[in-house]
């Protein structure tokens, strides 16, 4: 049996390791284009600013391939022929497979401005070539725009600012990171970003861009903004252009459509994991999950499926974390405003009447907030900024259907901060409002 894994990031490499752990004799080939060794793409920002080297972001030792007897192919896959069961490579050669895992990840979503990519100046911050591009472009004293109010946006804005560029952080939505934060929390983050000296603008749609006198001029409703270059951070799309016409079913968004066992719905012996796979979410919706830990889990699940196990991949209760400049963020469970536009993210049947309550407080003068969401008097979700929390504890409480008062009385058990920090306290300014 020859397993071929395309992509050596977390989904691909975890799958390859899982395959080897179960099958000592199979031939396992790992094809990668960006780098010889698996590295943490989420750490691009640290490489950019010099906090780490690329080598420091490699999350396995360099002997991994030899130890696991992976064949390393360093090439770009340009096409898949599922009938002949072979990949065509950029070098001109072919690679046969018996079972194929596509763990090809994402690329930055392109900004829809006509001609934007015809000349230099349009950048993303997702891949190693992206990093090299921005790194070569960004010089202290330049002016740049980061377009898009998500995690990649805030990370690239931060490191460009720290390199000494004038950064305009332009967000179309009325507040920062609306898929995860509500207005009050987002304002805490935005104030923090502005405090660092960035120009952070919300509710700022950009109608287009044109090049004038060596500058890129962004057209906004009230203003034209000239910048030296633009980082597009309006999300990512599956890196699946090379699959068009292969017969492997893609969704309109470009994701590889998979069954419950992560096998392609159209093509036997082809599996997908990570950012490029279209999977079922707890609310029943179908879309990719672009998260590090789910990519790892998908890789492992796909490996079992490739070995013939009866696998049903399902992600558990939602949780995540992030860092906006210095502000750490933890979320667990269901924060209904975060569910939009997927309104019923596992929080009951559509149209079901429920009594929602939101408890919220901010430590005065500090970027520290807590939000607790209850449905019919039971704890269902948590958002926290500025302090560290153990999402596992919250998920247990959600599972145990704890009441708000009980949760508030036990909050310090969920703290995951360093020693000597202030314990959690309910402040007089805390609010409890109906509705989520």
């Amino acid at each position: 049996m020859h397993f071929v894994v395309v992509g050596n990031s977390i989904a691909g490499i975890e799958a390859a390791i899982a395959l080897r752990n179960r099958d000592a004799h199979a031939k396992i080939t790992v094809v990668s284009y960006e780098h010889d060794h698996p590295f943490a793409r989420v750490a691009l920002m640290y490489i950019f600013c010099g906090q780490m080297r690329l080598q420091d972001t490699e999350f396995y030792d360099r002997e991994l391939y030899a130890r696991m007897r992976f064949e390393r192919v360093r090439d770009l896959v340009t096409g898949v022929d599922p009938v002949a069961k072979r990949l065509s490579l950029k070098s001109g050669s072919y690679l046969h497979y018996d079972r194929l895992l596509l763990a090809v990840g994402s690329v930055g979503r392109r900004l829809p401005w006509p001609g934007a990519y015809d000349q230099p100046g349009m950048h993303h911050f997702v891949t190693l070539p992206d990093l090299e591009g921005v790194n070569a472009m960004a010089k202290p004293g330049m002016t740049c725009a980061v377009v898009g109010g998500g995690l990649i946006g805030v990370e690239s804005a931060e490191v460009l600012h720290l390199r000494g560029l004038k950064v305009h952080f332009l967000i179309r939505e009325p507040w920062y990171f609306p898929v995860a934060l509500d207005n009050a929390e987002a304002e805490v983050v935005a104030a923090h970003i502005r405090h660092h000296g960035l120009d952070c603008r919300t509710a700022t749609p950009i109608d287009g861009m044109e090049r004038k006198g060596g500058k890129m001029v962004l057209k906004m409703p009230d203003e034209e903004l000239p910048v030296d270059f633009v980082v597009g951070a309006i999300g990512v799309v599956p890196n699946t252009k090379f699959l068009e016409g292969s017969g492997i079913a893609l969704t309109p968004g470009g994701a590889i459509d998979t069954a419950d066992n992560l096998e392609s719905v159209s093509t036997p012996d082809v599996f997908a994991a990570g950012d490029c796979a279209n999977v079922t979410w707890p609310d029943g919706s179908r879309r990719p999950e672009q998260i590090w830990y789910t990519s790892r889990d998908q890789g492992r699940a796909a490996a079992r499926a490739m070995l013939g196990d009866d696998v049903k991949y399902r992600r558990g209760t939602w949780y995540n974390s992030a860092k906006f400049f210095d502000i750490e963020y933890t979320t667990a469970g269901f924060i209904p405003f975060a569910a939009k536009p997927h309104k019923h993210q596992g929080v009951g049947a559509p149209g079901e009447e429920a009594h929602w309550q939101t408890w919220y407080q901010q430590v005065p003068g500090q970027a520290i907030t807590q939000r607790i969401v209850c449905k019919d008097g039971r704890f269902v979700g948590f958002n926290g900024l500025g302090t560290r929390w153990d999402h596992q504890v919250f998920m247990r409480w959600i599972h145990e259907r704890r009441a708000l008062d009980w949760v508030l009385a036990h909050m310090n058990e969920a703290r995951f901060d360093e020693e000597f920090v202030e314990p959690f306290r309910v402040l007089p300014s805390a609010t409890l409002v109906d509705g989520a």
Partner: protein, 379 residues
């Protein structure tokens, strides 16, 4: 983002480029001079010449002497060294806190390290000496202070002082470490660790993270521990053996060799001299018998670094900035709590983690299952 670390790899002195080698050369030369250079010391001469001259007495106590022609010269190099050491820690501590002072843990432990050095490592010995009493460094214990029980110390050690050193070396610190971790000593009190944490901070990421380095470390540090306790045995035997016994010669040459190889060359010349090319805790990691002993206790004690389940994004900040070369990330990726003998509990891994995955804890181990449950909540 930890703003203070931004330029780590853009900075020539932190990345083994030529300025780093220059600094290493200077440090090595300094330590060779310190340990093997001659000092102009003559106690009788000093007592006679300076006893009635307050200014000169003060200078002598600070390690200098005023020659008749008005020039200054190093008189007692050890006091001069203690002064420089304290200055290096204070200045280094200032810069360290400019990077990491947003952490309460780092603030407190840096204050503690600098204060211990300034008070117990500099001022108290000076004052005691001023008062004509034997001067002791009360924050160094056996086996780090390997000559604590040598006759030249024991001969004039007051019983209370002896009790302090014996109780702290063999009962007090081991108990503290059992309950709170090796960090109590290595990252809050120890002068060697203190210099690494402050003056050495720009080089902490240079520690070797390979498993080969880990294997070498396990052999070398425990060899030194064995050598230190063997020496303790010899010192006792030396004291008990009748006059003329062959053990006296052997004990003396053993003590001399240990002092030279471990005390001067390893802990001093190499331990500090190699900061800019080998990372800051080379001595603590590969040689310190105190670290070895406390590490064995830590292994069975309550301290560990708890890992938040399935939250690690494998970025590698923790491993990069671990000065002891522990591959923290590999534990975090496997959701395994970290309980390593070598961990000095500096807390940097937890501090630089962008996802808050790590926490230094001293509570009893969580019950089985606490960190392994999958929660899939159906509302």
């Amino acid at each position: 983002m930890q703003a203070g670390l931004l330029d780590t790899h853009h900075n020539a002195v932190s990345t083994r480029r030529s300025p780093a080698w220059v600094v290493t050369g200077l440090l090595v030369a300094f330590y060779l001079l310190l340990y093997f250079g001659k000092e102009d010391y003559n106690a009788t001469d000093a007592a006679v010449r300076y006893a009635r001259d307050p200014l000169n007495l003060m200078l002598v106590k600070l390690g200098w002497k005023l020659n008749d022609n008005g020039s200054l010269w190093v008189f007692n190099k050890w006091y001069l060294y203690a002064g420089l050491y304290t200055l290096g820690m204070a200045v280094g501590g200032y810069f360290m806190l400019r990077k990491h002072g947003n952490s309460t843990y780092h603030r407190y432990r840096t204050y503690s390290l600098v204060a211990v050095q300034a008070v117990l490592g500099l001022m108290l010995p000076l004052v005691l000496d001023f008062l004509g009493r034997p001067a002791w460094y009360f924050s160094y214990f056996f086996p780090l202070k390997y000559d604590l029980f040598f006759p030249y110390n024991m001969d004039h050690m007051q019983p209370t002082v002896m009790a302090w050193f014996i109780v702290m070396s063999f009962v007090g610190l081991p108990l503290l470490v059992y309950f709170k971790g090796k960090r109590v000593y290595c990252s809050w009190i120890c002068g060697c660790g203190g210099l690494a944490e402050t003056f050495g901070d720009p080089w902490r990421h240079l520690s070797d993270k390979s498993s080969r380095a880990w294997r070498i470390e396990q052999v070398s540090i425990h060899s030194v521990l064995f050598a230190a306790f063997a020496m303790l045995g010899l010192v006792i035997a030396d004291g008990l053996a009748p006059e003329g016994h062959a053990i006296h010669n052997f004990a003396n040459s053993y003590k001399g060799m240990y002092s030279l190889a471990i005390g001067s060359i390893f802990s001093g010349v190499l331990g500090t001299g190699l900061y800019p090319v080998g990372g800051t805790r080379v001595w603590c990691r590969f040689g310190c018998p105190m670290a070895a002993m406390l590490g064995l206790i830590q292994k069975f004690g309550r301290f560990r670094i708890a890992v938040k389940k399935d939250m690690c994004i494998s970025c590698g900040n923790c491993s990069t900035y671990c000065e002891m070369g522990i591959d923290v990330r590999s534990y975090a990726m496997q959701n395994r709590d970290i309980k390593r003998a070598s961990c000095v509990g500096c807390g940097m891994c937890a501090h630089v983690c962008p996802r808050g995955v790590l926490q230094l804890v001293t509570r009893r181990d969580a019950g089985p299952g606490q960190h392994t449950q999958e929660w899939t909540v159906d509302l």
